[in-house]
Amino acid sequence: MSPTSPLTRTPTAQETRGRRDRSITDKDANAINRVEELSYDLKIHEVMTRQMKIASPEMPLANVLEILRINHISGVPVVKDSELIGILSLEDIVRAMQKNELSAPVSQYMTRKIITVASYDSIVSAIQKFSDSRLGRLPVLDENNKLVGMITKGDITRGILVALQKDYKEEEVRRYRASHLFEDIVSDRTTLVLRYNIKAHDFTHGGNASSHIKRALLRLGADPQTARRCGIAVYEAEINLIIHSTNGGILKLEVESHRITMSTTDDGPGIENIEQVLQPGYSTATEQVREMGFGAGMGLVNIKRCVDKMDIESTVGKGTKLTMRIYVPTENLNGRKDD
């Protein structure tokens, strides 16, 4: 890391007041890199270590040395009656060792002048205190001045790396979107059809097709709410095929830029009374299936709630076709209406 890196240098007074408080010129904006931005965006409580070792003032130094050794840390906060009263670091222990006083209590060697940071502050304030004080760890206090964690430079580095990784992942997902498909391929009406074969009684793979469909829709640029509605509807339809169909069936998804049509078809047994199966709580599932948590009699009710249009055609002995349709809000998928 270079000496001018935001992680090691002392921020200017202006920076400390916060970049958000001043107007940023275009030139400034270009100069601010993502890491620098993150040091203002990330809060201390997001990166600090919550599970920390603490020492009491009466504890002999030798015991603390053992705590430090076992946990590979170089200092601990000293707490009395749940109040932070000092910090004991390896350096303090070295001082005691020089005088051969490892049996002395913590209170005798601890540093009483404590520099703390607030959990709700940006990590940049911790970075500044690290570089001002040359300390390796700082206690974190909450709004009520209670000790809630410790922060080290390592925590900050890790926090920034995790945030960068998240950025990268989001960027990757964005680039992977297949939404340009509808724009790249020119036709009077483009339809993408996905087919899934669903086996009867195959509970092991139950929900696989729905999960693939939801992911496909997100990749195609559907908004999360639309993808979720489709996911729930198609899951219930998929499970219905698994529970009720004689020989399984086909789950089909047709994506157009303005609407999504999902359907299931099977070749039996067929539904005797469609009115009845639409009643909430009505189910013909076996006891065994119910034990797994299916057969609540809510499947079709859920589907109806999630889609804009639902249609069931069924003939006993022949089979059932369930069609579900969701109209995509404009500016979704590809934002262009085809018809």
Partner: protein, 115 residues
């Protein structure tokens, strides 16, 4: 209240791969052993408390983007279910306590339903 604090306070066993649970902040919870009810009632980033431990709870949780499933009364998902949960990023937690007790404690801890 983040998921790590919930795991600590309720003494839950993490069945799936550990990761940074402090970044997960559940926004509510839903309790049912009927999958379709969960489909209708649970929102994304909710905790789902259930006795069910078979493979299909993973699919439901993944679709709904559930924050974590708390499986009660020591019901044990099998290895396939745990592998599937890891693959889909679903967090499975387990407790010997009954559902009622877990619900009560979560409510007390402030995991309530936003009206």
């Amino acid at each position: 209240m983040n998921l790590q604090q919930i795991i600590d306070q309720l003494n839950l066993t993490v069945l799936t791969e550990t990761r940074d649970f402090t970044t997960i902040q559940p926004e509510g919870g839903y309790t049912s052993d009927l999958l379709s009810c969960v489909m209708a009632g649970a929102k994304s980033n909710y905790l789902w408390i259930t006795l069910q431990a078979h493979l299909n709870i993973v699919a439901v949780a993944a679709l709904l983007e559930i924050a974590a499933i708390i499986i009660t009364e020591d019901a044990q998902p099998d290895a396939t279910a745990i592998a599937k949960a890891n693959e889909q990023g679903v967090i499975l937690l387990s407790t010997p306590k009954p559902t009622y007790e877990i619900d009560g404690k979560l409510w007390e801890m402030g995991i309530q339903i936003q009206k």
